[in-house]
């Protein structure tokens, strides 16, 4: 076995060109795998983050007639028992209204929050570009688009009409930009009690919103919540059920990424296999004499398995380096106009290790064909005087 290893090593060293060629082949395969794999992972994380990162991932609403949760403090408490899997639990009072401004009346959504609870979900503090958050009753913040449309500045008062015919005036303390124009145009964000007052909700809320620490576990957690929450007439939704098309899109993307990776591996495997098979033929005379001298067939095969192993290791290491290089240049050269990378790259070491190990294993599998050839080689065929 030691002899097989040292012969394998010498074979690789003496055929440097060939060795380099195979190793580079494997390296290119591994780097493409890592690059495409991490790019698509990054894309998915980014997509999920923009889609649902700044929104409620599990939402509890009421199914009773008034659509109000009376005992919401208990619901909040019960949801908080699931920390740290469930985070940022926040009650909300939502309802439709219309904004009456100089020239027109437009529909808006009143959203009342405990701002300290809901800020981690929606990022109002980060999104606020002018003024401050509402702290008192009858104060509100509105989005950029709505402010522009209605010509509102911090300190101005807006008039809201509710569906039941009432009207309210709120003082705008600040303007926000949450990065989503439909929110910027429609939301009037205020305190919980203000919203309760406008919408006639008394002390109730319309929903309890929350996020989860592992976004893809939202459905499982929603199910657990359903079992443990005591309130009656409650309905629990999670983002996965509400975004089935996004999920199937992500799934399709993952599958295509796996397909690419599998075919890259197959190509690498065939390449190694054929080059090593040729090297069995090239060295058949030496193998023949080794067999005449009493090397066991299994040891003769091991020479090629070791070659496969070493080529795989070398290729994997080179490939990982090359993959990092590709990712680095991608984040340096594929930029948005503002200089940020088109896509943030998330380095997943587990995935990189997996790609590397796959390369090593495939190289060894590829070497089984030449190993078998060399095991079958009959010394007399080779040493028949020529």
């Amino acid at each position: 076995m030691k002899l097989s290893f040292s012969i394998a090593l010498r074979f690789l060293r003496s055929g440097r060109g060939q060795t380099a060629l195979i190793a580079i082949g494997i390296a290119v395969g591994v780097s493409v795998q890592i690059f495409i794999g991490l790019l698509i992972q990054g894309l998915q994380i980014d997509l999920v983050d923009t889609t649902i990162g700044s929104s409620s991932q599990i939402t509890i609403t009421s199914t009773n007639e008034e659509k109000l949760i009376k005992d919401w403090e208990r619901t909040v408490y019960e949801a908080k028992l699931f920390e740290p899997e469930i985070i940022n639990v926040s009650p909300a009072v939502d309802g439709p209204a219309s904004i009456d401004y100089e020239t027109d009346i437009d529909p808006v959504v009143i959203r009342g929050f405990n701002l300290s609870d809901s800020d981690p979900i929606y990022g109002f503090t980060d999104g606020l570009y002018e003024g401050s958050l509402p702290t008192q009753r009858d104060e509100a913040i509105i989005g950029r688009e709505l402010a522009v449309k209605t010509g509102t500045k911090p300190g101005d008062r807006i008039t809201l009409l509710t569906p039941d015919g009432g009207f309210t005036r709120l003082t705008v303390t600040g303007l926000f930009d949450l990065g989503v124009s439909s929110l910027n145009e429609n939301w009037v964000v205020t305190t919980l009690d203000t919203a309760q007052g406008i919408l006639g909700a008394g002390n109730s809320v319309t929903s309890v919103e929350m996020q989860v620490s592992e976004v893809f576990d939202a459905d499982i957690l929603a199910e657990k919540l359903e079992y443990s929450i005591s309130g009656k007439d409650l309905r629990i939704d999670n983002w996965k059920d509400q975004n089935a098309s996004l999920l199937s899109g992500l799934n399709g993307q993952s599958v295509s990424s796996y397909m690419i990776q599998v075919f890259v591996l197959v190509a690498v495997l065939l390449g190694i296999s054929s080059v090593l098979a040729i090297s069995v033929v090239q060295r058949s005379k030496q193998l023949g004499i080794l067999k005449a001298m009493g090397i066991l067939d299994s040891d003769a095969s091991l020479i090629f398995v070791f070659q496969g192993l070493m080529l795989g290791l070398l290729g994997a290491v080179l490939g990982i380096a090359l993959g990092f290089g590709l990712l680095w240049s991608f984040t340096k050269f594929a930029l948005n106009p503002d200089g940020t990378p088109v896509l943030p790259i998330y380095i997943n070491y587990g995935f990189i290790a997996l790609s590397g190990s796959f390369a090593v294993i495939s190289a060894m599998i590829a070497s089984l064909i030449p190993a078998r050839l060399s095991s079958r080689l009959n010394p007399i065929e080779v040493i028949k005087n020529g």
Binding site: L3, I289, I295, N385
Partner: protein, 228 residues
């Protein structure tokens, strides 16, 4: 003296549909420590005979005994071990591993059967290289030596495991007459010094005549058997 090789009723037939019989009821034995040559026209079956003795080939029928062990019934692994310990091969072409130095090539048969190479084996390899006159080039890669030097390396390699038997198939077929002479005198020296049995196939009448015994094979049968 005891026989190191004993062949009984050996037949060898090649081919499935069209059968070609190469050896016919051959009975032949060689004594220990003897220096023998086998001669014969090409196609006479002498290489087949040597391959059967060397356990590289199996007879279609008959019994083969090497050093007291019946070999035609052993499996591949047992044969590999037997060849490694008991038989040294020298072929017309040296088939050294070009990636290894002369000295490393000489040690390969030992490394086939052993994990580590102890100091005394290294010294033995040096001694053998000295014997075949390669002390100066022992650390050269096989490709950096002349044809004669390569063949002498192959001889040293055949000796490293102190085999009782050396089988040589046209060992000088590829060399000029000066190298041929040197190599034969080396083989003779080894035969006397280490009491190794030699069976050498050659087409060179002058070389054959220097052996203790000449066996001529003709059409798969023994035509002549001359002992001195």
């Amino acid at each position: 003296m005891a026989n190191i090789i004993q062949l009984e009723e050996i037949n060898k037939i090649y081919g499935e549909k069209i059968k070609t019989q190469v050896l016919f009821d051959l009975n032949l034995s060689f004594e220990e420590n003897s220096f023998n040559s086998i001669i014969g026209a090409s196609g006479s079956g002498k290489s087949t005979l040597l391959n059967i003795i060397g356990t590289l080939d199996k007879p279609t029928s008959g019994r083969v005994f090497i050093d007291g062990n019946r070999t035609d019934t052993l499996n591949k692994e047992e044969l590999a071990v037997l060849r490694n310990k008991t038989i040294g091969f020298i072929f017309q072409f040296h088939y050294l591993l070009p990636e290894f130095t002369a000295r490393e090539n000489v040690l390969i048969p030992y490394r086939i059967g052993n994990y580590k190479v102890p100091r005394e084996m290294e010294e033995w390899a040096d001694e053998l290289l000295d014997l075949v006159g390669l002390t100066k080039v022992k650390n050269n890669l096989a490709t950096d030596m002349s044809g004669g030097q390569q063949q002498r390396t192959a001889i040293a390699r055949a000796l490293i495991n102190r085999p009782k038997l050396i089988l040589a198939d046209e060992p000088t077929g590829n060399l000029d007459s000066d190298s041929t002479k040197t190599i034969y005198s080396t083989l003779r020296d080894i035969n006397e010094k280490f009491k190794t049995t030699f069976v050498i196939i050659t087409h060179d009448q002058r070389i054959a005549e220097q052996a203790d015994r000449i066996v001529e094979i003709k059409d798969g049968r023994i035509n002549l058997d001359i002992r001195k």
